[in-house]
């Protein structure tokens, strides 16, 4: 109750309670709890308050006279003083209908009633439950208290508990109220606007004449706001002019807090006076009902109750959210908007400098839904995002415009004002400019050329369309032009052109789409307008490598351009799926057989992008594309080689693909690429492919023949991180084999690897720790690592914020400890090292936990270190982890438990912390490695009789008996040892109870088997 009053209740300045709905809820709740309390709890009702509650009552003296007994009250002003709940009840009885007011007065007089009733120790500062229970415990455990005292304390505690529960209940209901009080979003605003737009018209039944956005703020920003950015900061979403039937036009603002009437829109200045001039309303509907009688009458006659229509509007607004298809909705709105008013969009584009800034700032308060949707799109995108934020560099004034501006402006004028002949001439003249320079690109946009060029695409004149596309294709290499084309709805037109019979048009449109679709929104638009299906159908090219004729060449060109466009589009996950549905895979497989490099590059590029999806990886393998990829790896074109290697890099995640690469002799050319040290992109792709391919042991053998390790080690110095990640990854995979670990040392690779541990690139660190860890399995390697203080570096990586690095470093530490001389001393020399390990057992990342458990197992082999770990409280932490479901963690955890049993009374503590029963359940999982470590742990734990009893109760014997029959000797030994311990306990028990002939245990057969196994 105290917490609610201090935190949730709305207090006014003069320590009065505000008349807010949440306060109302609190008051009714308190009243409900207090009223009738003394009847239900006679003892509690009589108990004297530690301090009386004093307040100025709302009651008059006469009110009390009507009751039989009344508390001490002064004569004039009802100054009430209450000493118990019984008295409180009397006051409340006297109030009758004004109970809530009285409770309010009481609370205003006593801001922390609980402390007054129960004493100061229950003051409202008990924020967490633990403290509360601690107090309760202290109270009851006091030394010299009489029975009566004990009883009263119990009553007090009971009341304290009740207050506490009341507190929690009230907080919940207040929270429920607060969550309903939501803010307006652009979506809600637009939905209500659309709804009212539907209702508007000149007829008498229609509630309003018209509603429209204020002309100066028509443009909808990408975040759905219409208000300019400086007003968005004030919470404004949009401004609308509402033409009512009975009164004049009103100008309303939709803000995040609600709707209100502002000071109006002035045609002369073309601006809005933003100042608020009315109350806030939750919906425009409510506002208009208040403002216009006509509106009120029409709407209530129509729907009975205006609420329903408003609700409908709100529902309509929320639906797209629920469907999770917000982007389609947005696109539809966008399309509609364009239909309504294309010129205005253009106007808004013309002032793009200010606009782009607005758009950028507007992007920040984007709704969570939009953000989620974006992240959905962006998962596989790299490097293209910044294009969205491409900074506008434009000349401030017209004074220093280059001469191109005027010339281009002139040609664009001829483009507009003439027949097709002059259009063609102007197009040809525009083509003579340096269209690859930014000056010309932006000049075309700034003089309004883009609009004309896109308009030409919608004419019937093929030659004009071709000329226009030729220009668009060139200038769309500029990110700002791309965005402008998308803003003007050019992508829809381009997609439509793909349907034209003319192959020239198909080619040029596809190439232009390839250029424009370099950013996310464009890719989405192309998908939503069915562009992917059309582009995929372009790939269907009947004769690829046969005799050529001009006609076939044009078909090939169409396919090439289609592939180019798909390459750009395949940057988004949804597009990849759409492409797959459109049947792109067999077509790509066919084109991959082409001999033309300019065809192969976009095809392989598309495959490379798509290979991030598992479906495509399987398809690439099963459609036999691996062979062609390997073949093209031998090409002379570095770009093609790079894309092939990257595709193999991605596809070789799968074992079958790795084997295929080997069987097509793909490993040799891959290794050959390692010599091209000047092309970093190619090198990165090649080393990546080698890394993934070296996950198969047969490939490793092949690589050994090719001396890959030496070559890779040579690459460990001065290469960019992208290359290093892959090189180190490959070395890490190769180091799975003993010979290779020696080979790495002989090639001098250990030193550079250890040095890389000081880096910051997280992917690189993960790979490096892995490689170092594997290398440390050899004593000779470990000597070098130790000399370079590699273990300390690994240890310091445990502090890395990235859990993957932490886990990988912890795994790497294990072999280091196992293979270094005097490991115990080394570990102790790291100040705070053991504490860090124990601390990491509190991580919430399962992988980190498993790795740290493995490290604990290694460290605990040294008794002194184990003692330190125990002091740091490792045992309860380990015991707490035993309930995990993760098999990897189970394995390392039981290993750690087995190793930690060796010290002091750790065994008993494990038993007490309840670690034994879960361990027994580990024997039910399938993984034999888990069985092995669990059996070890159980064996160690079974050396204490209590644990034996627990194990036996959990039915361990049946599982252990099964394990005794295992092929693994260590497992056999541990299992049988554990059974022996249990049996021994049972025997001892039996012996002691022989006289009473009580039988314990009941596993006579077990003994024989255990002995036999030994």
């Amino acid at each position: 109750m105290g917490l609610t009053l201090t935190k949730a209740a709305d207090w006014l300045d003069n320590s009065k309670l505000d008349f807010s709905p949440s306060n109302q809820i609190i008051l009714t709740d308190i009243l409900k709890a207090v009223d009738g309390y003394s009847k239900n709890n006679p003892i509690g009702g009589k108990m004297k308050f530690s301090e009386p509650l004093v307040w100025d009552s709302t009651l008059k003296f006469e009110d009390f006279k009507k009751t039989e007994r009344f508390p001490e009250t002064s004569q004039e002003v009802a100054h009430v003083e209450c000493h118990s709940f019984d008295m409180l009840q009397l006051v409340l009885d006297a109030c009758r209908s004004k109970k809530t007011a009285e409770v309010r007065a009481c609370l205003e007089g006593n801001s922390d009633p609980v402390s007054k009733i129960l004493g100061n120790r229950y003051a409202c500062n008990t924020e967490d439950d633990v403290e509360f229970y601690k107090q309760a415990e202290e109270d009851l455990q006091g030394e010299d208290i009489t029975y009566e005292e004990f009883e009263t304390k119990k009553v007090v505690l009971k009341m304290a508990m009740e207050f506490h529960n009341l507190d929690v209940r009230m907080l919940r209901s207040v929270q429920g109220l607060m969550s309903k009080d939501s803010r307006l979003s652009p979506r809600l605003v637009e939905a209500e606007f659309d709804c009212l737009k539907e209702l508007s018209g000149s007829e008498d039944e229609q509630p309003l004449r018209d509603i429209e956005p204020v002309p100066c703020y028509v443009h909808v920003f990408s975040n759905g706001y219409r208000a300019p950015n400086f007003r968005q900061l004030q919470g404004d979403i949009a401004y609308f002019l509402v033409y009512l039937k009975d009164t004049d036009v009103i100008c309303v603002t939709a803000g995040t807090k609600g709707w209100f009437v502002n000071k109006g829109y002035s045609k002369d200045t073309n601006d809005v006076d933003f100042e608020r001039r009315s109350d806030l309303y939750g919906s425009l509907f409510a506002l208009l009902r208040e403002r216009s009688r006509h509106f009120r009458e029409r709407t209530s006659r129509k729907s009975g109750d205006g609420e329903t229509a408003a609700d409908e509007a709100a529902d309509g607004a929320e639906k797209p959210d629920q469907e999770g298809d917000a982007d389609q909705q947005a696109a539809r709105e966008e399309a509609e908007e364009r239909k309504k008013d294309p010129t205005l969009r253009w106007v808004s584009l013309g002032t793009s400098e200010q606009q782009s800034q607005e758009r950028r700032s507007a992007r920040q308060p984007q709704s969570a839904a939009a953000a989620a949707q974006q992240s959905d799109e962006s998962d596989s995108e790299s490097g293209t995002d910044e294009e969205e934020d491409a900074v506008e560099r434009r000349h401030e004034s017209n004074a220093d415009l280059p001469s191109e501006y005027w010339q281009i402006g002139k040609f664009v004028r001829y483009l507009k004002g003439g027949n097709q002949t002059s259009t063609i001439i102007s197009l040809c003249a525009l083509r003579d400019f340096q269209l690859n320079t930014e000056v010309c690109q932006l000049a075309i946009r700034d003089v309004g050329g883009l609009e004309v060029l896109l308009n030409l695409l919608e004419t019937e004149e093929n030659r004009c369309k071709i000329g226009s596309l030729k220009i668009l294709k060139e200038i769309s290499q500029n990110p700002q032009i791309r965005r402008a084309i998308a803003d003007l709805g050019g992508l829809q037109t381009l997609v439509n052109i793909l349907k034209e019979p003319s192959k020239d048009l198909k080619c040029l449109a596809a190439e232009t789409i390839a250029n424009v679709a370099k950013f996310r929104r464009a890719r989405r638009i192309v998908r939503q307008h069915g562009g992917i299906r059309k582009l995929v159908s372009l790939l269907d090219c009947p004769a690829l490598n046969g005799p050529t004729s001009p006609e076939i060449e044009r078909d090939i060109e169409v396919a090439r351009c289609g592939a180019l466009a798909l390459w750009s589009l395949s940057n988004s996950t949804k597009n990849k799926r759409a492409m797959k549905r459109a049947g792109v895979i067999p077509l790509l497989g066919k084109l991959l057989k082409s001999r033309h490099e300019d065809m192969l590059i976009p095809v392989v590029g598309t495959l490379q992008e798509c290979a991030s999806e598992p479906d495509y990886r399987v398809a690439i393998r099963t459609e036999g594309m691996v062979e062609d990829l390997v073949k093209n790896l031998k090409s002379d074109n570095a770009e093609l080689q790079m894309h092939c290697a990257s595709t193999i890099f991605k596809c070789a995640e799968e074992e079958e693909t790795r084997d295929l690469v080997r069987s097509y002799d793909g490993l040799e050319p891959m290794v050959g690429l390692l010599n091209k040290t000047d092309n970093k992109e190619l090198l990165s792709a090649a080393t990546g492919a080698i890394w993934k391919c070296s996950m198969s042991s047969k490939n490793i053998r092949k690589f050994q023949e090719l001396n890959v390790i030496e070559k890779l080690v040579r690459l460990l110095s001065d290469q960019p991180e992208e290359v290093l990640v892959n090189v180190v990854g490959a070395l890490g995979e190769m180091a799975a084999e003993k010979e290779n670990r020696h080979a790495i040392r002989k090639a001098g690779g250990i030193g550079p690897l250890v040095q890389l541990l000081t880096g910051t690139n997280q992917a690189l660190l993960v790979n490096t720790t892995r490689a170092v860890g594997r290398c440390a399995q050899e004593k000779e390697n470990m000597a070098i690592i130790d000399r370079m203080d590699g273990v300390r570096l690994l240890w310091s990586l445990l502090k890395n914020p990235n859990p993957e690095v932490q886990a990988s470093a912890a795994y790497a530490i294990c072999p280091c400890i196992d293979n270094v001389n005097d490991a115990g001393e080394m570990v102790r020399s790291y100040v705070g090292g053991l504490e860090l390990i124990v601390h990491l057992l509190r991580s919430d990342n399962i992988k980190v936990l498993a790795a740290i458990c493995a490290a604990v197992a290694s460290i605990a082999k040294d008794e002194e270190n184990l003692a330190v770990l125990t002091d740091h409280g490792v045992i309860p932490l380990l015991a707490g982890l035993t309930r995990t479901q993760d098999e990897e963690l189970k394995r390392h955890l039981s290993e750690a438990i087995a190793c930690c049993c060796a010290w002091g009374n750790n065994r008993i503590v494990f038993g007490k912390e309840g670690a034994v029963a879960p361990l027994v359940s580990y024997l039910r999982v399938k993984d034999p490695k888990v069985h092995r470590s669990t059996a070890r742990a159980l064996h160690e734990l079974s050396r204490h009789p209590d644990n034996c009893i627990t194990m036996h109760e959990c039915g361990v014997v049946r599982h252990l008996l099964g394990l005794v029959g295992s092929d693994d000797e260590a497992l056999q030994l541990a299992a049988s040892g554990c059974i022996a311990n249990i049996r021994r306990l049972a025997m001892a028990n039996e012996k002691s109870r022989q006289s009473s002939k009580a039988r314990g245990g009941g596993n006579g057969g077990a003994n024989g088997k255990a002995v036999a196994a030994k």
Binding site: G417, T421, A429, K470, T548, I556, R560, H596
Partner: protein, 218 residues
């Protein structure tokens, strides 16, 4: 139609179809069409007005000046009539011409005085009506002169002051869009297809390629 006329058509078609892009059957069909238009007499020739009717009705041409030029380009012997041979060859270029045939045809159409070169004056005549006259402009011809200069610069690669066929051709090969830079003297693809589909025997693409394939790739 009497048998002798049919035999006659068949004979001419046989003789000429190898010089056109049509098959013999297609040539026969075109000759029948010629006969229908001219009225059936053996020696009747296609005159300017009837030809312009065809251009207008079948190929959607509207510009009177341009239709006259097309007539001139068809009428290779300048006798103000189009013979059967001229008809077949002209239509062949018109509908199925290669880029080179079309270039030559366009050059003939643009060379108003048939002197083998296109001068600035000729160009001005050709482009006179391409721009929409703005009432506010001081000099209505300024825009046209501007266009003439642009086109002249594009074609006159050797700075001769006039454009001969070689210059015209090399510019068109360079940028096929310039083929009809001085006015639409060839039918658009849709009406060409519509005309062809009434009699065509084999489907040959009617369009020339405006973009580079093969060698032009980067």
């Amino acid at each position: 139609m009497e048998a002798s006329a049919k035999a006659n058509i068949s004979k001419i078609a046989e003789a000429l179809h190898s010089q056109t892009n049509f098959t013999k059957k297609e040539c026969e069909h075109l000759l029948h069409m010629y006969k229908d238009i001219t009225g059936g007499a053996d020696d009747a020739k296609l005159d300017r007005n009837k030809f312009k009717d065809i251009l207008h009705n079948s190929f959607g041409m509207t510009d009177d000046l341009m239709m006259d030029q097309v007539f001139r380009a068809f009428d290779t012997d300048s006798d103000s009539n189009i013979s059967q041979e001229e008809w077949l060859k002209g239509i062949s270029t018109f509908l199925r011409g290669t880029l080179e045939e079309k270039t030559s045809f366009a050059f003939r159409a643009y060379d108003l005085n048939s002197d083998g070169v296109i001068s600035r004056d000729e160009m001005f005549q050709l482009l006179k009506s391409t721009l929409i006259r703005q009432p506010v402009e001081e000099d209505p011809d300024e825009g046209v002169r501007d266009l003439v200069e642009i086109v002249f610069k594009k074609f006159d690669t050797q700075k001769k002051g006039t454009i001969d066929y070689a210059q015209f051709k090399s510019s068109v090969v360079d940028e096929p869009l310039l083929l009809q830079a001085l006015g639409a003297c060839l039918p658009d693809e849709k009406s060409a297809d519509a005309f062809l589909c009434t009699f065509e025997e084999v489907h040959v693409p009617t369009t020339i390629s405006y973009i580079r394939t093969g060698g032009g790739r980067q």
